[in-house]
Structure formats: C-alpha cells, structure tokens
C-alpha cells in the first residue's frame, strides 16, 4: 500500500507525493505522455533521441549531470512505445536541486547543432550496438512490422531505420519538444523524505511558471483484426535457433489485462510453470522458453519465445508449443492458479520497494487513469478465475491471430 496525496498546478502538471521518511533520500519521477507511438512514420526513433537530448543541457543550465552529482544525486531515464520517463534520487536536504534541474528542462532545452550531433551519434551507436551487431538484436525490428501493419507499434522505440536518426534536424527536435514536453502532458511524482507542504511550495516556485501548451489529441490508426498466420523466416550468424510467436491481445487498461497477464504467468513464470516444465525439463525441446505480454496502452501483443535444443527442428518446436496452448485453453488446475497468484502478489510487493520504484508506480498508474489503482492491483489479480484465463486463451491464442518469426541459426 502506497499512501499518497495528489494535486494539480494551474498549468496542468499533475503532482503526486508519497512520504517515506525511512532514509534521508527523495526520488523525483517525471513521466511525459509521449512515446514511440507518437512519432511520424518518416521520423521514427525521435522519442528516444529526445530522451538523450534532455541530458544535453537546458535553457539555463549547461550541464544536467554535474550539479546533480555535486548534490549527491543520480538519475536515468527510459523510453518505450507509450511514455518517456525521467527519474532522479537525491539526498532530501538537496531536493530543490532536483526541482531546479527538472523544471528547467521542462521549460526549454538549450537546442544546438553540437548537442544534437553528440546525442545523434550516441543513439546511432546504440542502434548498431544493441540492435544490429548483437545476436538476436534485430528481433523486434523484424517482429513488430510482422505483427502490426497499421498502428505505430510496428516500429521499435529505437526507430525503424538508422537514416531517420541520421537525418534528424534541429527544427525536427524543436518541433517534437514544443509538441509534447509541456506541464499539462506530464506527471510528477515525488517519493521519500519530504512533506506535502514542502513539495507544494517547490512546485509553485519551479514548475508553475512554465506555460502549458496545446498538446495535440492523439489519433492513432487502429490495427485491423489479423485473419491469417504470418510467418517470417530468417537465417543469421547466431548460436542457436529461436522461435518468436506473437498474438494480438488487449491493452493495459482493458478488463481482460489481468487474466491475460496471468495466462503468461501460468505458462512461464518459474520453473514449475507449464512451458518450462513440459518443454524444457520433460521433453527437452527448448533450453529456455518465456511467455509475456507487452501491456501497452493500445492493443498489445502476447509473446512466446523459445531457444531450441540443437537437435530439434523448428516445426517440432512450434508443434510442441501449440500442444501446450491447446491444453491451457481447456484445463487450469486451481492449485496451479493459487501458486501463480501468490507469486504475483510477491512480485507486486517487491516492485514497491524503494522510493524510486514507488514514484514510478504512482506516476504510471496515474497515467493509466488514477494513481489509486496502484494499491488495487493485488486485488484485481486475485479476483481472476481459471475460467476467465481459459476464455482469454481461447480468444487470443489462435493460429489466425499469430505472427511467427523463425530465427534460424546459420551453422
């Protein structure tokens, strides 16, 4: 249970405060409601490029990291399809340094050709290092456009192709900032050794003078229903063959989310889970296998990915997965479900350890609709029945809804 208070500034910035005086530290989390899904098709990778640019100096502060480190703080950020999230942790007596830094880069960045060139090079290297040069690194570059044909989830956060980053201009990034980086498109959550009154005072001083912006209404194309199996085969210099299977499923805010997430847990959470027990331990078809859902804000994907034992063919591996999926559509043992519910409850509790995690959780559930939902998750998972999970399995785990990437090892 995370106790919190919430208020909104005149400029539309939502602020959430959780007091935890266990240690003399405080965490600031700023979630901007912009991600890779908000990019144009010919300018992909911009949300992530922008995350990097946010560390290249703001309008009044040439270096973000140096003053933060002098004050004893540390920070990082991440971008995904839906959001860009920045967070820092700092000794509580220096909390104002965090407000100074974060408010200045919300106000405006110090846009320059030099800063853009530096961050563009960093992102291009990241693209090459993590997605092009690493074994299996291109999986999501291949899988996303196979599963999505219309929706912007069809490109990865890093971008569709290197050229989009290489060709990014100063005008492009200025336009992106102006469009999305505004107080009325962000959620600030503060967790740790602070008080509500203190945060209200600091917010009024540092964030309230920032003007709100006309944030565009999101009009994303709806992905049409998939009607036949899609298969892509690739052969690469990788140690083992892998299979990746993706099915369209519900969004994070859909009522079926909890049953869908538990379906993935039943299949692969822990060594006694279905896929691991049957296909790794008993049948020795895979050396590892995982199931999970992406849990995006728009319609998501349900994934199964497995690493094949050398002697097993792709066809046999795929057949074995389908056999297990047919089983779970028709029978779920109550004991098995109870075990998963316990695991989920433990996972949720552990995800609330640490002030930075709590700040992120509060901001994320506020994004979903209400920060209070953060404290109801265990209850929602606990209410899921085996019938609901089997129904979800029947609805989504069909051949016509499936996209398969057969990733062969060139041996």
């Amino acid at each position: 249970m995370i106790a919190y208070e919430k208020f909104t500034l005149d400029n539309g910035l939502t602020v959430i405060v959780h007091e935890d005086h266990s240690t003399p530290l405080v965490a600031l989390n700023i979630l901007y409601k912009v991600g890779a899904r908000d990019e144009q098709i010919d300018k992909t990778g911009f949300a992530h490029l922008f995350e990097h640019l946010m560390f290249g100096g703001s309008i009044n502060i040439p270096s973000y990291d140096e003053p933060l480190q002098i004050a004893g703080g540390e920070n990082n950020a991440f971008t995904n399809n839906d959001i860009t999230n920045y967070y820092l942790t700092i000794p509580s007596q220096n909390i104002e340094t965090g407000f100074w830094l974060e408010s200045d880069r919300m106000l405006s960045l110090a846009f320059s050709e030099k800063s853009l060139e530096v961050q563009r090079s960093v992102v291009i290297e990241e693209f090459k290092q993590r997605y092009l040069n690493q074994p299996y690194g291109d999986v999501w570059l291949l899988m996303r456009p196979l599963a999505y044909k219309v929706h912007p989830y069809r490109w990865a956060t890093i971008g569709k192709e290197l050229a989009h980053i290489e060709d990014a201009t100063l005008e492009d990034v200025k336009g992106f900032f102006k469009k999305w980086y505004a107080p009325n498109n962000a959620i600030l959550s503060v967790s740790g050794d602070c008080t509500l009154e203190q945060i209200k005072t600091l917010c009024k001083k540092w964030f309230e003078p920032i003007p709100m912006a006309d944030v565009p209404a999101r009009k994303l194309p709806k992905e049409p229903i998939q009607t036949e199996t899609r298969i892509k085969e690739v052969e690469k210099e990788v140690p083992n063959s892998h299979i990746y299977m993706a099915w369209h499923c519900c969004s994070r805010t859909d009522k079926d989310f909890y049953a869908t997430d538990m379906l993935s847990d039943l299949l692969s959470r822990g060594k006694s889970s279905r896929l691991h027990h049957q296909l790794v331990k008993e049948k020795n078809i895979f050396t590892e296998i995982h199931a999970y859902m992406s849990g995006d804000l728009d319609k998501s994907l349900f994934f199964i990915e497995g690493k094949l034992v050398d002697s097993i063919t792709m066809e046999d591996a795929e057949k074995a997965i389908w056999e297990e999926l047919e089983k779970i559509k028709n029978e779920i043992d109550e004991r098995e479900l109870t075990k998963i519910k316990h695991k989920v409850e433990a996972y949720l509790e552990f995800s609330e350890m640490g002030i930075a995690n709590k700040a992120l959780n509060l901001a994320y559930y506020e994004l979903l609709g209400d920060a209070a939902e953060c404290n109801k998750q265990a209850e929602y998972y606990n209410e899921v029945t085996s019938d609901q999970i089997m129904q979800v399995a029947k609805n989504i785990l069909t051949k016509e809804n499936c996209s398969i990437l057969r990733y062969h090892s060139k041996k």
Binding site: N60, P67, Q93, W100, K205
Partner: protein, 56 residues
C-alpha cells in the same frame, strides 16, 4: 524574478543516521538483528553462517 541560472544551495550531511537494529539471542545462542522500517508488506531474512572457504 526566479533565478534559474544559479543552483539552489546544497548541503552535505555531517552524518547519516540509519535506523538502529533491535537485537536479541535465541536460546541456542543465535544472534538476531531486527530492523523495522518502510511501509511495504515485505520482509527480508538473511542467514549468515560463520563459515567460508575460498576453495570449497
């Protein structure tokens, strides 16, 4: 006018005050140290045995 150019004053703590653990001994002599803090319904237990070898 708000000064956004100069950083707010910072201070370095003279000392860090961590919570003092409660301690007691079991009947068999095992010392137990207990730290109650935070609000999460999570407990971490660590057992430390006074035995180790680099080469075992």
């Amino acid at each position: 006018m708000l000064d956004r150019i100069n950083p707010p004053e910072i201070s370095i703590p003279n000392a860090i005050h961590l919570h003092t653990p409660q301690s007691f001994k079991l009947k068999n002599g095992t010392p137990v140290y207990n730290i109650c803090e935070g609000t999460q319904e999570v407990v971490k237990i660590e057992l430390i045995f006074a035995y180790a070898s680099l080469f075992s």
